[in-house]
């Protein structure tokens, strides 16, 4: 049977609650309310409690589906967006339900550690050079089909919504480099992978990584990861598991990715 080797499981999801950091377009983010309560004076000794969730699929730790982004109204693969594809209830192609369970080799590039800083802030984006140097320092090779996670260190301040939103991001050149390696997906411990609000001078778009990765290369992006424990333990290679919910037509899904590391490595 598989899993014979005991593994340590790293939980890479940030907690979800109303007030957690959220990209402004997706406000109010995540709201949970408990309307069904355990109470006395009802007919049975067994009682139930449950609630309702109101949330943006791009809140908290989540994965972006390929329909989430377009370039000149074309999705990954060249499909032009039209009303038959982009509907009030979501997309009829490339929705998050088309993302298979992701189970692959994962690589952590701890750029914050490489730069010897606590966290990378806006204004000093992660470059291709940073990624290459970090990989080299870690002794990590990146192969096709791998999932690459980049640590900026901002996962440690998830509780400070204002500060968290000022995290540094990954620039276009770095995204292009990862794309050239044919990775399956990328992820980071910040709000939007890219640095927010910065327009790439060549592509002339904000969030250029989204264009390069999702639209041009069909590479998924996972945001708001918590990479602190992995980094603390210097785990740069692991089995990465991410299981997006099949919310038909949605442009992304909340996820709780995990990294499995054999106990004896």
């Amino acid at each position: 049977m598989d899993f014979a080797t005991p593994s340590h499981v790293y939980d890479l999801e940030q907690p979800r609650y109303f007030g957690a950091p959220v990209f402004p377009s997706h406000a109010p983010g995540f709201v949970y309310s408990l309307h069904r309560r355990h109470e006395q004076g009802v007919s049975e000794v067994r009682t139930s409690a449950s609630g309702f969730v109101y949330m943006a699929e791009h809140s908290g730790t989540h994965i972006d589906a390929l329909c989430h982004q377009a370039e000149e109204m074309r999705l990954y693969g060249g499909q032009e967006v039209n009303p038959q594809i982009q509907t009030p209830a979501g997309f009829t192609v490339l929705g998050v339900e088309t993302i298979p369970p992701l189970i692959a080799r994962g690589v952590l590039l701890d750029v914050a550690h490489y730069r010897a800083v606590e966290r990378i802030e806006a204004g000093s984006p992660v470059t291709r050079g940073d990624l290459e140097a970090t990989a080299q320092a870690e002794g990590m090779a990146i192969g096709g089909g791998d999932i690459v996670l980049v640590r900026t260190g901002n996962g440690a301040i998830w509780h400070d919504a204002m500060a968290y939103l000022r995290a540094g991001g990954i620039n276009a050149d770095a995204s292009s480099w990862l794309a050239s390696l044919r990775v399956r997906a990328v992820g980071a411990d910040n709000i939007a992978w890219d640095e927010v609000g910065v327009v790439d001078p060549d592509l002339k778009v904000s969030l250029p990584g989204h264009l390069i990765l999702l639209v041009r290369h069909g590479i998924y992006i996972i945001e708001n990861l918590n990479l602190e424990e992995l980094a603390r333990n210097r785990c740069y290679e692991f089995t990465f598991i991410c299981l997006p919910l099949k919310m038909r037509g949605a442009t992304g899904s909340p996820v709780r990715p995990v990294a499995l590391v054999p106990v004896h490595d």
Copy 2:
């Protein structure tokens, strides 16, 4: 590295969409609306689309947390429900965020197959005898910490909401037996594990399995699984992975569990 043995990945989640079967208490179930659209005439060639989800955490394939059920106002472990614990924003103890990533040995008890029926309907509940006989016929032993999935065959009619809700369930005796084996969690391909609307004559409650498993034994219940492919391939033993979202205070979480089976077994 782990996962050296190639595995086939079985996706056990039913698709999520408005109109899918839902237990009446959790209506309207799942609603997704796309309010941010790719459109022309905006400033950049890169466009974004995204939406909002409104859903019961107990809709679609989901896991019940331990706070979901109480017996005489006491949760698993004896904690009495009070306003400090049961709040408008959810529970401060035993919320779904306290469920760790579940990665364990999984066992499928294909009771529908054992009974040689296409699906088990209301009125002929799954008994302890059914489970024991099925396990024996499959040559499966159940050990402590395992996750046991029971197939009624109703996962095949997820598209027919009315019929799906008339699925048969697992009776109290069967739930007790599984509890005695100290399983970690159970799951089934029906709306509520138990048969809906049937009051157990001894416990004098409806959904007795919920009382026995969640409240008395701290065993999670996963509902609305799709076990058809696993059953078709006669996969009765696998690595089961289920990663509930850490929605703070919630009584459950939508999940996309998977079963991993080594290619050569």
Copy 3:
């Protein structure tokens, strides 16, 4: 002081609850959940209870704003729909907040009574001839600025969602006639003013009244009224008051219109 003459107040709003009739595009309609509860064991003797509403603005008794409909991508007044006007958070022109409080002379055309039927069902739409004859029989003249309410009798079966949706509607010719009289708004006791699913042979659109009234003439439409009491008391002329909520950018608003009739008339 105004209102010196005592008036009987007719409440024209249907009750709102989950499960009430709703036009399919606006499902699930109206959902209310109470997550804040009065409970004991808290710090004060004063307790609060409140909840959350999730609803389509076009559910229950409601008024359509002028941005709700377009003809060849142009709104009333010729404004072309574009991304600056039609945004994820609603419209920047002609949103429901631009509807002033409506206080005007109201006229009830009880067509069901004129036809001597309990209710008008799909297949026998209300025509211009029906409206003219009903007005004449009632001795009612319709002037510019008036608000005309048409009774089909279906308000009496609001509780029967399936049957209610099969109500008859008002045809294009009748809508055009009302538009020619320069009414301020119209309303009916059915789901969509027009008969659902019928394409007008001349305009080649479904819901032609919406095109004629909202887009071409800037006349508001109020749907799902309850006109039973007004009709029972043969009140064909009254002061009509309707106060749409200023939900910025929305395409309509739930309303509770009333009709005031002096006690001695």
Copy 4:
């Protein structure tokens, strides 16, 4: 016909939008998203746009129903709160649907003007003495069945959510005095009628006005009014109209109250 005297209509509702001031218990307040869009490339020249609202019934300008508050678990009239009355879908007694259309004589007590301040801030609550003196200065008598609106001047800063929440409120003694006059309802241009966060030393509760008015006297409270125009025009007496939505079981309703003043008074 009534309304023969032309009237000026004062709109007393504040605009609704995401980000408007909201009492913390009711966050995120009001959210509107437009998921159905006018778009080209569909079958008809007529297109529709509409959305979904997610809101607390106590957001924006709204009225509190009698079930909203309790004293020692008893509602107005002595009804004890129990699970048959207080349900996940709202209250089965005293829900907002039991509030009839409110059409009554309205009186504005412009206390800010009386005190010669731009607005009344937290720390200097409106007292009984303030109300009596203001009424006298305005030459206004208050009778049974009247609806009394108190101006603190904070309606002018609705756009500044932080500052707005620091508004002054009406103290318990003032609320008691209004109750003794047997008014039908009261309203103010602040977030909660009472001053937020202040515990009344005698009643030992916060928001004592809520206890006195709603629970002990069955007097409705309307919050977040905009009284600026009324005040500017020194209109202290008018016909007040408020039409709460019949949201079954809800603890309040958004409203757009108006004040009608005859043009020649």
